[in-house]
Every structure is written in C-alpha cells, then in structure tokens.
Amino acid sequence: MRRAGETVRVRDDWPETRHPCHIRTPHYLRGRTGTVVRHLGDFPNPEDLAFARPAAKAPLYHVAFAQQAIWGQGAAGDELLVEIYDHWLESVP
C-alpha cells in the first residue's frame, strides 16, 4: 500500500498506440510526477472490465500534481487531484 505523501511518477506508457484499450489515466499526466494523497479503495480494473475480461481489483489512489509543473502556467500552489490506478504509478526514490 502506498502512503500519503509518497512521491510517484505516472508511467510514460502509451498502450493505445499498440492495441485497442480503455485507459483511465489521462494523457497529460503520463510521465509526470505527483504526490499520493490517499488510497481511495480497490476497484475492478477498468482496462479489463471494458473488454468483458475477468477484472482483478486494483488499488486506486488520489494523486496531486502541481498545476505549474504540468502546464507551465497557472498560480503557484494550485493543483490537480486525479484518480490513478496503482499499476500506472512508479515509485520515485
């Protein structure tokens, strides 16, 4: 289980360029670094659900990203808060 305050990076992966898929991780966050805010629960993986495959439950986290770091604009301190599945997150040492 990831802890609140942990620094994470969203995988810079683009499965939609390789095969049909259904992904709940927005493009604008791929490869970006954020901070775990909290574990929201475990939910059946939507990437499998969408294709009627057996879907194992996967941990879902609320992850915060600095507005300026993502877009290069905006007010300091403003943030984005996004639900991201654990298998899209990499630990940052």
Partner: protein, 193 residues
Amino acid sequence: MSVLQADGEKLLAALRGLLAEKGLVTEAAIAERVALTDQASPARGAGMVAKAWTDPAFRALMLRDGAAAAESLGIPMRGLPPLGVLENTESVHNLVVCTLCSCYPRAVLGYPPFWFKSAAYRARAVRDPRGLLAEWGTTIPEGVKVRVVDSTADYRWMVLPLRPAGTEGWSAERLAGLVREGDMIGVTVPVAA
C-alpha cells in the same frame, strides 16, 4: 458502414435488443435506472449542502462517505459508484471536471449541464482553471489554492461550498434555495441573495 455512421436510435435499439436476448439486462431494469436518473436534480445536492451547513454530524458523515450521507436522506445510491465530497475552505477551492468523458454525480445532481461535457470545458478546466472561473464571474483570491479534481475513474465528486456570509440563522430549507448546480461543481460559489 461503421458504428460511427449508424443511426443512433437504431443502434441503441439493436444494442438493447441484444443485451435483453443474451440475458445481460432486462428492459425493466433499464426503465428503472432511467426513472431513477430522471428523478434526480441539483435540489438533492443542495439539500445535502444545506444540511451539512447546519448539522455538524451530517457534515462529518458527508465528507467521510458521501453515498452514506445521501442515503441517510433517502437518495437511492445502491449500485452506483462511491460519492466523494470535496470541501471548500478558506484556503482551498475545488473545481470538478472529467477530462476523459463526462463522469458526474447524477444521483445527487441529476443530468450534467451541457457545458460539463463540452471539449472546451474539459480541456480548459485542467489547464487554465482561474481563467475559466473568471468567465463564470468567480474570482478565487490569491493565496487560496485552486484544486482541480479530474474525475477519471471510479468515484463521482461533488463540491461542498463555503456557507456564504449573511446567512446566519437561516433554516436549512432557505439555505438549500441558495445552492446552485455550478456551486457543487465549483464553477461558482453561493452568495446570499
């Protein structure tokens, strides 16, 4: 002809027919869900907000488990995604968007307004939230954090706005009359009329 070129009504009828034929869903179940959604409106969310402003125990429940708070007021939440409630404070203003599609807490706010599903709102809310809010006439002071909540997965989110000044002593019913749909998405903030 591809699915994208098909007549929408015919496509829907064909899909419903197939789902029924395969025993995946019944017409009755679809009708029940449509009726439930038709009953929902922003008045439900406004009632929750007003109760949270006047009842600290309900406010605590609402922030901990929005669906349980809604159910305690008789709002049907069974079979729906969890409802998360984002509290606006003197230091944080929340704005909800779904950049991937149009996730929306329909059980408590009803059908989403047309602009919530527009590409323009979805793109601009995450990239330039203060600029977008200014167009709604909403100015978030410097020093107050704008937090854009991109509703990407299994939760549905609503905002619990700040209770406006000048409403001391108001009943929950009168307070509920102040709260608009946009206040619970975060594009506007309630003001005492």
